[in-house]
């Protein structure tokens, strides 16, 4: 029980009469890499926004790092890191200034920020670019720095929202190595993606279709269960199978987010 | 975006034209009557009857009056001294105190003229009533002035402002949109895409600007329609001439927009810089305040202001019916301006890409 860093029960979010997230229930264990999969518009981002406290659930319960996201949002915030799909850093600030700023808003001491920065410069080989404006850097660099920045305050859990959009396969590979490293050091990683090959890298994955979690297990078991070659096939089979939430058939709603 | 481009400016044309007036009326007026005579009452009655003055109240003392003026409740205070009537009859001369809030200097001057006019009429009236044979020693000479207001006999302010505001709107919209347009492509990254196609720079720029040119003329058309239908502004001159001049003028504005676009990196910067120059151009255009009153050096600066020419031409052609030969100097200068600005724009575009 205490091993779960995320516990979600019947979490629901509706916008008017559209149900974006429909009573989902799952747990994430400490140190796990948890893949949160789904097509565009399946409700992944909405579900994640509720977990990180910037969207209020319509009903249901969710605990993150032992705190209720509904009633203790502020305690949750100190324990989590977040990286958005835009790799949001400030373009008109240098790499160093971005690190100092984000360290600062999480309340790290000046000394700690300094240490962290040296560590990052060392690990990522940032020496030549640490004083450059972020706006001038290639996307791959921004992505790596944004991820490191989200880990600055050593959060228990880090939420990554489609962290690999728009970068090349080699950079994606390197990025996953960073994720493994973070998980190895005990950080729980909650990652949304729609690249099915990336799902193979996760310890466990859940697949959302039309606001519901339709499958949740390790990639290996899921492949067995659906008798599929790879995760891509699993996903296609799931998305095409008739679903009780769909009234008129078998297509995935892709235009709502 | 489309409603902002068309609807907002037109609402503004309607509202601004009503708001932008230097006419002085409804002057907040109060008096102190220390005389309480039939003469003082007759004088106050004159102010009551005038449409310029809004007689608010009377004060028992000067202290009360100046407090009210400090609060901004009244702008003009007339003080009738004790024995006003007696003085007038005895020494044949009397004094009146007039206090005017002069923070708006120009308005204060006009208010003073109105007060003086009323007092003079009253004076004439008194003379006729009180004049005795002994006073008829000799007859003074009078110069009669006949003021004639040509082109706008009723001094309708809207006739003056509507053509000017029309200029303002055509200029603002085309400048902002063209200024932001290319920067936007820069920001989004589509400019690079276009730069790799075999299209020539000149073709590209013409292709970019043509829609705004059409848009500008469209705005002019709608504006003129409103001017005619809602404000009933006389259109004495030739419509064709207005369109001819405007079509050259928009080229100048587009050239400036493009030039700004080439030297900025973000839409925000482009917007700011356009706004900065817009404000200076507008203030120096003679739209609200007369250019002739500016000092010489400032008048020389206005020679470089395209808005000035547009305002002049619109007012000349629309209200006075000036012909092509009358506006030839403006046409030549505008044409020259258009050539220079667009030349600079094309040149700087090559440089930066």
């Amino acid at each position: 029980m205490n091993n779960n860093v995320i516990e979600v029960k019947n979490l629901t979010k509706t916008f008017g009469d559209f149900t974006a997230v429909n009573a989902i229930t799952f747990e994430v264990k400490k140190g796990e890499i948890f893949g949160f999969l789904g097509a565009n518009g399946a409700g992944k981002t909405t579900a994640m926004k509720m977990l990180i406290g910037i969207s209020k659930p319509t009903s249901g319960k969710a605990q993150v790092a032992g705190f209720d996201v509904f009633t203790h949002a502020e305690d949750v915030k100190q324990s989590i890191g977040y990286m958005s799909q835009k790799f949001a850093l400030y373009d008109d600030l240098t790499v160093k200034e971005n690190i100092t700023f984000f360290g600062g808003i999480y309340g790290l001491s000046r000394k700690r920020i300094e240490e962290k920065r040296c560590e990052l410069v060392e690990d990522l080989g940032l020496k030549d670019i640490v004083n450059q404006l972020v706006g001038a850097l290639p996307l791959g660099w921004k992505q790596k720095i944004a991820f490191s920045v989200s880990l600055l305050h050593d959060p228990k859990i880090v939420f990554l929202d489609e962290p690999t959009g728009g970068v090349d396969p080699i950079t994606r590979r390197q990025f996953w190595e960073m994720i493994y490293k973070a998980a190895h050091q005990g950080t729980t990683v909650f990652v949304t993606t729609h690249y099915m090959d990336e799902a193979e890298y996760c310890d466990r994955v859940s697949i959302m279709v039309n606001g519901k979690i339709e499958a949740l297990d390790t990639p290996k078991k899921l492949k067995e269960q659906f008798r599929a070659e790879n995760m891509n096939d699993v996903f296609l089979k799931l998305a095409r199978s008739p679903s009780p939430t769909l009234t008129n058939g078998n297509e995935v709603n892709t235009d709502k987010n | 975006m489309l409603p902002i481009i068309f609807v907002l400016p037109l609402i503004q044309l309607v509202i601004l034209s009503n708001a932008a007036t230097f006419e002085i009326k409804n002057i907040a007026f109060a008096y102190i009557d220390n005389d309480h005579s039939s003469a003082s009452r007759a004088l106050i009655e004159k102010f009551n009857a005038s449409t310029y003055f809004n007689v608010l109240t009377h004060f028992p003392s000067e202290a009360k009056a100046s407090a009210a003026m400090l609060k901004g409740e009244v702008d003009v205070v007339l003080e009738i001294p004790r024995h006003f009537e007696r003085q007038l009859q005895k020494s044949k001369q009397a004094h009146l105190g007039v206090t005017i809030n002069a923070i708006d200097g120009a308005a204060a001057g006009v208010k003073n003229v109105y007060v003086t006019q009323i007092i003079q009429t009253f004076n004439q009236h008194i003379k006729v009533n009180l004049l005795q044979p002994s006073d008829m020693l000799s007859q003074p000479s009078t110069i009669n002035t006949i003021p004639l207001f040509w082109y706008n006999e009723t001094l309708n302010y809207k006739t003056f402002m509507v053509p000017g505001i029309l200029v303002l709107l055509v200029t603002m919209i085309t400048l902002f949109l063209s200024g932001m347009n290319i920067v936007r492509e820069k920001e989004i990254g589509t400019l690079e895409q276009i730069n790799v196609t075999p299209i020539k720079k000149r073709q590209f720029i013409i292709g970019k600007l043509f829609p705004f040119w059409v848009l500008g003329l469209g705005l002019l058309t709608i504006g003129l329609t409103i001017a005619k239908l809602i404000f009933n502004i006389p259109m004495i001159g030739s419509l064709a001439l207005m369109y001819f001049y405007t079509s050259i003028y928009i080229l100048v504005v587009l050239g400036i927009g493009l030039f700004i676009s080439n030297f900025t990196d973000t839409q925000q910067q482009a917007m700011f810089i356009s706004w900065f120059f817009m404000v200076i151009f507008i203030l120096m255009s003679g739209l609200f305040t007369p250019i002739e009153s500016m000092p010489k050096w400032a008048q020389i600066i206005t020679e470089f202001n395209p808005i000035k020419y547009f305002v002049e031409v619109m007012r000349m052609v629309m209200l006075k019916g000036s012909g092509f030969m009358d506006i030839l100097p403006q046409v030549t200068k505008t044409l020259l301006y258009a050539l220079i600005m667009n030349g600079l724009a094309v040149w700087s575009y090559k440089k930066t890409s």
Binding site: Y82, Y106 | N18, I24, K25, L70, I143
Partner: protein
Amino acid sequence: MKRFTGFIKKEFYHIFRDRRSLFILFGMPIAQILLFGFAITNEINNVDIAILDRSNDVNTQEIIHKISASKYFSIKQIITREADIASVFEKGQVKAVLNFEKDFSQNLIKQHQATVQIITDATDPNTANTISNYVNAMLQQYQKELNKNIKIAYQIVPQTRMVYNPELKSVYMFVPGVMTIILMLVSAMMTSISITREKELGTMEILLVSPLKPFQVIIGKVFPYIFLSIINAVVIVMLSVFIFKMPVQGSLLLLALESVLFIITALALGILISTISATQQTAMMISLMGLMLPVILLSGFIFPISSMPLPLQIISNIIPAKWFIIIIKGIMLKGVGIGFIWKETLILLGMTVFFIGLSVKKYKIRLE
């Protein structure tokens, strides 16, 4: 607190890295004050006029001489035919034509009266009216000189006192307006743009996920602009005092406090705009079209509110700038204390609370 200072430091980086915007931010007030102080005036000066003198005698010569000697008029042209009047107006060369009747002097002597027409180009009605009044006043003066040997009976002499601005300088009128516009521009427009920029870039989300509270984020974003606005206000007041010799009759402290209040009102408006617009472009358009023009036109900055049609007079009451202009004029030119402007101050305070309340409400909705 440390988190907060880091945040403000970052805001200043944003502002100082954007050199062009910074230039506009500080260049604008200086350029505007100088233009209004030196170049722009709604008085008349050196107006070009033409003369049609069919009498050409002693009196007309004296009058023409008097007029050309004044600083208000310069005689650009002498025309000889009535038909030329229309053509000089159409070319836009002169604003007025003085048309003396035939035998002006003789009429004056024989019939004790003579007539002159003041024909003005009334496409600009305000200037036309002023010119007409000025020429008239000069003729009256001349007439007085003619009659100086005759004692005129029953004369009422008004003694006019121009208070608060005895020299009728138009810069006194413009400074409060320019100050209001600049503070509005810097505070409302800049903040609304800078907040929406964070939304567009996606950094706002990151900030909301961090332990910083939403109100800390907003205060952190607007704080630097309070600072910049205060600098601008100080620059404007210094320019007007030292270059244009404009007085500050009232308390400087009160002026400073009222300015800070207005800056906060404008910032609250800026925050409100940022909560209702998703992109920088929308925020800019709302600020420029919806804010700047009403501020310029309906606040009494240039055009007197009392002369506007009633509906516009009513609308002008909801424009914060109107009240601030009354306050500055009161403090700087009339030298009044809070006793005279408490009502305006309360209105500004009320508006500020209203804008903040509304943005808090809107802001919450966005987070639902």
